[in-house]
Amino acid sequence: MSGEVQAAAVLGGFSESEQQEDARGPVGAPRRRRLGLGDWLLPAYTIMAFVFLMIPIAYTFVFSFNDSIKSNISWRGFTFDNWLNVCNVEGGAVCEAFANSVIIGLVATVIATALGTAIAIALVRYRFRARSVISLLLFLPMATPEVVLGAGLAAQFLALGVPKDMTTIILAHTMFCISFVVVTVKARVSSLDPALEEAGRDLYGSPSQVFWRITFPLLTPGIIAAALLSFALSFDDFIITNFNSGSTSTFPKYIYISASRGIPAEANVVASAVFLFAIVLVVASQISRAARAKRLAKLD
């Protein structure tokens, strides 16, 4: 039910539309057509809506080239300096924050993906008691506001006297990523044909062979989508991080703290670079998916 899960579907390059194809009406069925308002109004609205959605992104990108001195508010001229010297500002604070975010994102993603994938397989493939309790436990972190998750963990670390550093951030991020991994991978496990695994067992594959040679490769697209989603969630998280980071800096936390005195243009550089990298990755996967679908259609 989550928007983020569908975001993961887009990231992973598969969407439910693949399975829904036949549910649609017959193509080319006779239809009376009147040239209605919707024929041009809706496309025009859509274009305007996308322009609106892109405005802050374009702003961030353009201002990464601003020849600013300290705060990056008014336009002073075009320069490549910010892109070429990203790590030279404030003793490399931007880059350090960025590196921390990447490390935290990677570690939290690996742990959350492993734990979440195991849960997803168990939920789809096995029957056990307490299923509804476990589903609730998985659903609740997604329905809890981040500020409550963050304050709760911080209260627990405080009560136990655990000092807040990078480890506590990783522990927090792993926690909120698990549920999203479970929903994403679960969709993939449900769509898996059990006959393939049965065939493997019939051919004398041991349980571990069947898992690693058949189940795991078939689950890979779902697992990759879940991992990308986890990384994106962790990388951009601010609220939970703010409660559990102590003095450790992350990229969003760096921006929050610098917001009162002005953000250096180098932060725009890092954000723009991350954006371009992600967009290229996603668009490439969409295009290759479309090409694959065309090839398969030809084979039919």
């Binding site: 989550s2 928007g3 975001a7 506001p145 601010f238 703010n242 409660f243």
Partner: protein, 303 residues
């Protein structure tokens, strides 16, 4: 024959036992993790919310107690913040729904014939996710500041009073919340509209229903699961957000929400019991509201 039946029965009896051990092995690490880092933190939040200041302690030192007075105190002190949280979140949810529905309808229904265009438009919908949430909000702050092109033009056209501001007002906070949660609204709407069988709409107009009646009586009810999912995914994070309302972003002194006072009490004032009590109130209120909403909209199976 009988022997064969016996053998399968035995195999079946054996299988679930072994299988449930595998299931336990798969479930245990993750579930244990969630118990340790999601469930017990909620309990420690509850315990913290009942703490009383230590008798001979410094600021920020508290003893475990059953000090229910904390709840009365925070409600009295922060009632405007509580009201703002839910009011702003509600307004942002309504605006996001109005903005997203036509967009999702175009991507999910009108663009069906062009799958590549459809998926590229979906990429555009989630594109804001790829740039930092805080930088997006700061970009709007600059774009809507008093000296900005947008605001000076509005003032020149007399659409805005010359001495009026946009940033720092409730409108700016609601605007920011709306913008930031639009993808959460659009994606679930798209998912249900993508599956909408357009033959129902044709049947409606064949039966002489006008476009508006078709939309109200067929399209809206069929897309209800997406509307419910989208409004929940927007409302819940918006109610707990404190970035948009923060003074350094789109808010001002009079726009502070629950998230802001939870942050201030926890990280600045070190008044942990107040922060914890506010968090518990926020979570309880959201669970109650979501429960009522889901029941009334008749989409319980969604959860």
């Amino acid at each position: 024959m009988a022997f064969a039946a016996f053998a399968t029965a035995e195999a079946q009896a054996e299988a679930p036992k072994r299988r449930s051990r595998i299931a336990l092995f798969l479930l245990l690490p993750g579930i244990l993790y969630l118990i340790l880092f999601f469930l017990t933190p909620l309990i420690s939040l509850l315990l913290t919310s009942l703490q009383a200041p230590a008798e001979f302690g410094d600021i920020g030192v508290y003893d475990y107690a059953f000090n229910w007075q904390n709840y009365v105190d925070v409600v009295q002190q922060y009632l405007p913040h509580i009201a703002r949280s839910f009011g702003y979140a509600l307004a942002a949810t309504v605006f996001a729904l109005l903005f997203s529905y036509p967009l999702a309808y175009f991507i999910g229904v009108k663009a069906r014939r062009w799958p590549l265009l459809q998926s590229l438009m979906l990429v555009l919908v989630i594109a804001p996710f790829f740039i930092s949430f805080l930088l997006r909000t700061l970009a709007w702050k600059q774009l809507l500041s008093d000296e900005s092109f947008i605001i000076t033009s509005l003032k020149a056209l007399s659409l805005m009073a010359p001495d009026a501001h946009f940033t720092g007002t409730p409108f700016a906070v609601i605007f920011g919340l709306t913008y930031n949660f639009i993808p959460f609204m659009t994606l679930p709407l798209y998912t249900t509209l993508e599956r909408l069988d357009t033959r129902y709409l044709e049947a409606g107009s064949d039966l002489y229903a006008g476009p508006f009646a078709v939309f109200r009586k067929i399209t809206i009810p069929l897309s209800m699961p997406g509307i419910v999912a989208g409004t929940l995914l927007t409302f819940i994070p918006a109610a707990g957000d404190y970035v948009n309302a923060s003074r350094d972003f789109l808010g001002g002194p009079d726009t502070q929400m629950m998230g802001n006072v939870i942050e201030a009490n926890f990280l600045v004032l070190l008044n942990y019991p107040a922060a914890a009590a506010l968090s518990i109130i926020l979570m309880a209120a959201i669970l109650v509201l979501v429960g009522i909403y889901v029941k009334r909209s008749g989409t319980e199976d969604l959860l």
